[in-house]
Symmetry: C2
Subunit: 451 residues, 2 copies
């Protein structure tokens, strides 16, 4: 029994226009897959547009659209956390299903929004909120549902990855590449959300919640951007066989029987909980993630018993985002054409009453290897002093690279360490910086072998 | 309202044991995700086993298990196409949902089995049948449901990829590596299904069906294995910046408005239809697929408007396969706990009455680049003769590598060509082999830039 599913699109920017375009291009395939007709009945737009099919009603009153009898599913692609939030809440209260790409809104207000949706027996779908067209939400909520997810990491901000890629490939400076990214439209005029890691942190909060079954906790995510990464560090990392990528990490430690946690030495069992962090990271040049370049995204998931799987593709753009939005619509069509409303994947992958209160770890408790770069006097005994401090702190050295003198008798020393608890490393770095022969802050970048 | 979902596992080999183990390890997480209890009530096994929890009934009468009132979902992990088929059909007729990992059975008898399932309002789920734990079935049926899938390619046989990887990494011969693969348990005593490409062809038939909405057509898949790949070819490919991988390809040509087909020169619009083929393929060494090594699998999908996405992970093994089997069970739990049976993804992603009769192309009509290797007399004019033939056939040369003389005055010549219709290449190769200065068959391997 074929029905007509009625959609409203709120916001006609890049993504909204992409959804309109997708329906024009692929409607026949969508009908073949769903068995139902799909029509856009209303669009929410501030000013009347003359490039929209006249059968679609244009309306600047978004609250009216959210309550319209002529709408089954409300697609929110405006962004922002004020009007978007009000409209989504209104739609839910009117019994409408909602599809949104709004990662900031969900990361910061998702617990409230999802609870309201449960109460009103509607669904809020958000595949497009993380990693664009890569179906990482469906993968974590459904495809990997039988697994115990141990950790995940990924490149989940395309702008940042574009900058890191250009620096390495072309030997360009951060500022230089950032200006190009802004000119190309990859980065906003105010690039803070991208280069400071906030956008990645929003997405990581969503991923961690559905991986581990915990409430959204954006405020607990440790967030470090790429603004301090210099070309010099990129080059040295390269000489050592590594690339620097801005990664998000969600890691569960020690609450599973299998305990296959990330880079975890047995001596460092300092705390039990979940690591949530985004920061620049060295990874081996032959790791798949090291070869995810430009504006591409990828997420690597380690779960038991599946092992490592990786998901790669476009993390942004009209087409990729529209693909994810409409995948959610296709799922909701199955809900709308069934005769009850109980039959769905929980919003956060786990049942709302089964969410755990596992603590989020502070950054001091996380364990990684490190890339350290020191500016030292070219005098005897300096290296012995530094390695002595590391040894005393129980930190094992994996590799040392001593570069030729390049200015005023000072010599750069690069050290790679094995995994160590961050608080231990902080102590050692303080001692190293206190040495008479060391003249500037120690540069440090975390390092993972991803094994 | 929490229910107890009752499972039967038919077959207690590697995969069946993996499913038992997964439930032991992850039951708490499964309950948290589904909201329901999951119990194994019966296992089908030829002889009584004493390492199985005594609460589980062991039974050698598989038909009785398939009809048992004490079973909601039948999990078939025996393999084979005789008993397995009979039992699945019996289970369907008794109104049981079925989960199977049996790629050969579905590729060859899936149309019949799925039609019967539709008739009896039950589902036959098969995530584990392709690429092990990589959720490529869910991705193609659900996550990419809004896209027009243009082509997909992938490494979908782990044994073959292990052999190709070892040959390249360690300079070992095919036979040598095959024997090791057999000793390690990666390859069967009779390795035909793996090394001749039949296993990959089974999987490709399934992927193509759900990508394009066509019936299963295993008998139309062009199938070439890796038994003719020599270390010499692996080495030359490497010198030219390529790696040889055994890939499956499903390519839709010219029936979309967007027409972004694989490596398709505009002059070569010889036929409309779908390419289904598995064969060794050169791909650039920096392509992600070129870096999928050992027994790993990966599938690259190009769709509109999403673009390229890639899915990577373990393509076999107890844990990966059990992960996929139980993901299907988790989906079926939503069906079982709903109050109707209409609410599901179609078996082949498209509605049964919407399957298209798009033709499958013969291998002559496909278009790829080529790697050619010739043994030629070291005399003047040979290269001119060869390139003249190619030019006459309208085939463009991308690169030529002439190696030093290595035996009896003969010289190997390696040529890479731009994409060309296979039938054209066949004509050119026949002419080249007829030249007096050419002494053996021309070695040819297809080549894709994956752009």
């Amino acid at each position: 029994m074929s029905k007509s599913i009625k959609l409203a699109i709120l916001g006609l920017g890049t993504v909204g226009t992409g959804v309109l375009r997708l329906l024009e291009d692929n409607l026949a395939e969508l009908k073949r897959r769903s068995g139902h007709d799909i029509i856009i009945t209303e669009v929410g737009t501030r000013r009347q547009r003359d490039d929209i099919n006249p059968s679609i009603q244009q309306n600047s009153d978004l609250m009216a659209i959210a309550a319209s009898d002529n709408v089954d599913i409300v697609i929110e692609v405006m962004g922002g956390q004020t009007v978007a939030k009000d409209v989504i809440i209104h739609a839910i209260k009117q019994g409408k299903h909602v599809v949104t790409a709004n990662k900031a809104l969900l990361a910061e207000h998702g617990n409230e929004i999802f609870a309201l949706a449960e109460k009103h027996h509607v669904h809020v779908a958000y595949e497009a909120a993380v990693a664009g067209g890569i179906p990482i939400i469906k993968v974590l909520r459904e495809a990997l549902a039988a697994n115990n997810i141990e950790w995940l990491t990924g490149i989940i901000n395309g702008t940042g990855n574009f900058i890191m890629t250009e620096m390495r490939d072309k030997g360009r400076d951060f500022d230089d590449v950032l200006h190009e990214a802004q000119a190309l439209g990859y980065a906003e005029a105010d690039p803070t959300f991208d280069v400071e890691g906030i956008d990645a942190a929003h997405k990581l909060a969503l991923l961690a919640s559905i991986a581990f079954g915990i409430p959204l906790q954006f405020d607990k995510v440790y967030c470090e951007g790429i603004t301090d990464i210099t070309l010099q560090d990129v080059t040295y990392a390269e000489e050592l066989g590594y690339r620097i990528k801005h990664l998000g990490f969600a890691v569960r430690r020690y609450d599973t029987a299998n305990g296959d946690s990330l880079d975890m030495p047995s001596l460092a069992q300092t705390a039990t909980g979940i690591e949530l962090r985004v920061h620049p990271t060295l990874i081996p040049e032959n790791a798949l993630l090291a070869n995810v370049n430009g504006v591409k995204n990828a997420v690597l998931v380690n779960s038991h018993p599946l092992g490592q799987t990786l998901y790669y593709g476009d993390g942004a753009g009209a087409g990729a985002t529209a693909s994810a939005v409409m995948a959610d619509v296709m799922d909701l069509i199955r809900v709308l054409t069934a005769t009850n409303h109980g039959h769905h994947v929980p919003h956060l992958a786990f049942m709302p009453d089964a969410l755990a209160d596992t603590p989020i770890l502070a950054i001091d408790h996380i364990v990684t290897g490190y890339y350290l770069r020191l500016q030292a006097d070219d005098t005897p005994g300096v290296l012995a002093g530094v390695t002595g401090i590391l040894s005393e702190a129980g930190i094992n050295i994996d590799a040392i690279l001593q570069k030729p003198v390049h200015q005023k008798g000072q010599v750069p020393i690069i050290i790679l360490t094995l995994p160590v608890v961050e608080s231990q490393m902080n102590v050692a770095i303080n001692k190293i910086e206190a040495l008479a022969a060391i003249h500037s802050k120690v540069v440090r970048i975390r390092l993972h072998d991803l094994t």
